[in-house]
Amino acid sequence: MIERTVTVVPEDGLHARPASQVVEAANNYDSTVTVGPAGGEDVDASSMLAVTGLGVGSGDKVDLTADGSDEAAAIDELETILTTPES
């Protein structure tokens, strides 16, 4: 299992498009992926309901974990989504 802490850059935080992208990505990997506020409770990153329910905003720190055969690729893609500004 890999863990990583990142600061959320997109202005919308984990809502709207960034949330969609996270859920989309989490569903594309075999690994189990979780996301949650740094030091707080993690949720299933493949659930839109759970991800948007976190209420994570821009500038907040989040913990990511990925566990499975493709965990490295999964966590890299999530990190990219969460640290890339919205165009």
Partner: protein, 566 residues
């Protein structure tokens, strides 16, 4: 005795766009569906199949709607349909649905319950979380309609002049509306940041949202007006209202500068917050930019913008107005806006905290210096005239330190042999302190610019975001008008020009008052420029001065409002 059906009646809401409209009410009901609790269940296998089919059909519809929204509205707006599709495959929703079906529930009831629980969780939270409840409602409605075999109501082909009335409009409803035929829409629910409002702005449709349950009392085919300025729906509008909402619609864009009927030029400029708004400002006939907010250059990124990147942005603005003036406000940032690369501590009262010039002279002095370097270089290289102003100045010491920073940067550029020019320098008048010190400020700078939104907020001690104190947060409060008058006199006593860049400047009904008060420049959202320019040409300055003198004798806002309409 019963109510006269032709009586004029006003219902307040929230303007989603700055556009007004006039037309005929048409009610939209998103199709009646059977009460999910009343649907009798077949065997679990059949119900599961019905759910699977409805879900597959919903996903297919969403794909189509996403594509047409992307083409008609924009790709950012289309992203909402991705979120909807993800809810349909979200295990936290589908698992309880499947369990309920296995336990003998009809697909309708299972869907209604699972979504209902999720909606309850999101509802009552603020902002973007509350929007999620609307998304879930939209997805649930779609599934229930497909389960009952219902067709989607077609909104693409509404009659010319329709003002659509609805309890709520979903993103998919709104994306269908044709801005060329529809006169507007009004919804009971929704706020300024709801999807429906964002779509309305992108499409350019007059819209009032959040009008409340009272709307239900308005019957089909009633004439209605949408008054964006007053944020009202007017039922059976009289001639005065009709003229008000249609005024400006056919206004021609004046590219030339305008003067009052007695020959005094008033500069009419645009406020912009992104480079993309420059085109709109030019298209509406702005003389220049009266407020270039630079925060967009700094937000949404991990590193601050380089000097060269900023230079390019300022040049782009200056080259858009070769004959005009571009007033750039230096970085105005505080604890309310997160920027990953800045240490922005949580503050109890960010609007009274370390922000604006206070940070530029302290924690962000490096950023400030880089911004000034880019600005001084742009002043020499751009086509138009550059002016630079400092936000939230409250003391002479702050102003002196900011002017010293400009001199220091100029010296450095000189030593380095880099081409530069010192722009016109000014101060924003936003605080009571700045009003009291305006004479001393004006003595040191070329111009003052009144930010009426913040000035009203700080003079009246009324949060500009708090609806409960909206009446206090009004630039027409006598205390605010007196403050404005004082700033104008201070500027003119010291040969400085004075502008206004708050929302007040763009209210066409106040142009005469503002010209009477002596403002030299008015800067506003680009959309109101044609109306304000038209008004300026009809103003006689001695009449305007007596209008403002009269307003300044009044001690209540109500009395001031009455002088406006005389």
């Amino acid at each position: 005795m019963h109510d006269n059906p032709h009586k004029t009646r006003t219902i307040s809401g929230i303007s989603a766009t700055p556009l007004s409209g006039l037309g005929t009410a048409r009610w939209y009901h998103s199709g009646e569906q059977p009460d999910p609790a009343e649907v009798s269940a077949a065997d679990p296998e059949t119900e599961q199949q019905r759910f699977d089919d409805a879900r597959a059909a919903a996903i297919e519809e969403l794909e189509t709607e996403r594509e047409s929204t992307r083409q008609r509205v924009g790709s950012e707006e289309a992203a909402v349909f991705d979120a909807h599709r993800q809810f349909l495959t979200d295990p936290q929703l589908t698992e309880p649905i499947e369990t309920a079906i296995a336990n003998g529930a009809a697909a309708e009831l299972a869907v209604d319950d699972a979504f209902g629980d999720a909606i309850d969780q999101f509802e009552g939270m603020d902002g973007m979380m509350a929007e999620r409840a609307d998304d879930l409602r939209d997805v649930r409605g779609r599934l229930l309609r497909l389960l009952s075999g219902g067709e989607r109501t077609d909104l693409t082909d509404l009659a010319e002049g329709t003002v659509l009335f609805a309890e709520r409009l979903t993103p998919s409803d709104t994306a269908q509306l044709d801005p060329d035929t529809i006169a507007g829409f009004v919804t009971m629910t929704g706020g300024r940041t709801s999807h429906v409002s964002i779509f309305a702005r992108s499409l350019g449709i007059p819209a009032i949202v959040g009008a409340g349950g009272e709307l239900a009392e308005i019957s089909e085919s009633t004439p209605v007006a949408i008054d964006a300025d007053r944020e009202d729906v007017v039922v059976n509008p009289d001639t005065v209202v009709r003229e008000r909402v249609t005024a400006g619609r056919d206004l021609t864009v004046r590219e030339d500068r305008v003067e009052t009927s007695d020959g005094r030029e008033i500069e009419v400029a645009a406020n912009i917050g992104t480079a993309a708004e420059l085109n709109g400002a030019v298209a509406q006939g702005a003389d220049g930019i009266g407020l270039f907010r630079t925060e967009f250059l700094f937000l949404n990124r991990e590193q601050p913008p380089s000097e060269d990147e900023q230079f390019e942005s300022y040049i782009e603005a200056l080259n858009s107005f070769p004959e005009g003036r571009v007033v750039v406000r230096t970085l105005d940032i505080g604890g309310d806006k997160p920027i990953p690369y800045l240490e922005l501590p949580d503050e109890e009262n960010p609007f009274l905290g370390n922000r604006g010039i206070r940070r530029s002279l302290g924690a962000d002095s490096d950023l400030f210096e880089t911004q000034l370097r880019a600005l001084l270089r742009a002043a020499a290289a751009g086509d138009g005239t550059l002016s630079v102003m400092f936000p939230l100045v409250a003391t002479i010491d702050e102003l002196t330190a900011a002017l010293d920073a400009v001199n220091r940067v100029a010296r450095d550029l000189d030593t380095e042999g880099i081409e530069y020019a010192t722009p016109e320098l000014g101060v924003m008048i936003e605080t009571p302190a700045a009003i009291f010190m305006a004479e001393a400020f004006a003595d040191k700078v070329d111009f003052l610019s009144i930010g009426t939104n913040d000035l009203a907020q700080y003079v009246m001690a009324a949060d500009r975001e708090n609806e409960a104190v909206a009446d206090l947060h009004d630039p027409q409060q006598p205390a605010v008008l007196r403050a404005i008058k004082r700033a104008v006199e201070a500027a003119h006593n010291h040969d400085a020009w004075i502008g206004m860049c708050g929302e007040m400047a763009g209210d066409p009904e106040l142009t005469e008052l503002l010209v009477g008060l002596g403002l030299d420049e008015l800067s506003m959202s680009a959309v109101t420029i044609p109306a304000v320019k038209a008004n300026v040409t009809e103003i006689d300055r001695s009449e305007a001065v007596s209008c403002s003198d009269r307003a300044l004798t009044k001690t209540t806002k109500t009395m001031i409002n009455q002088t406006d309409t005389q």
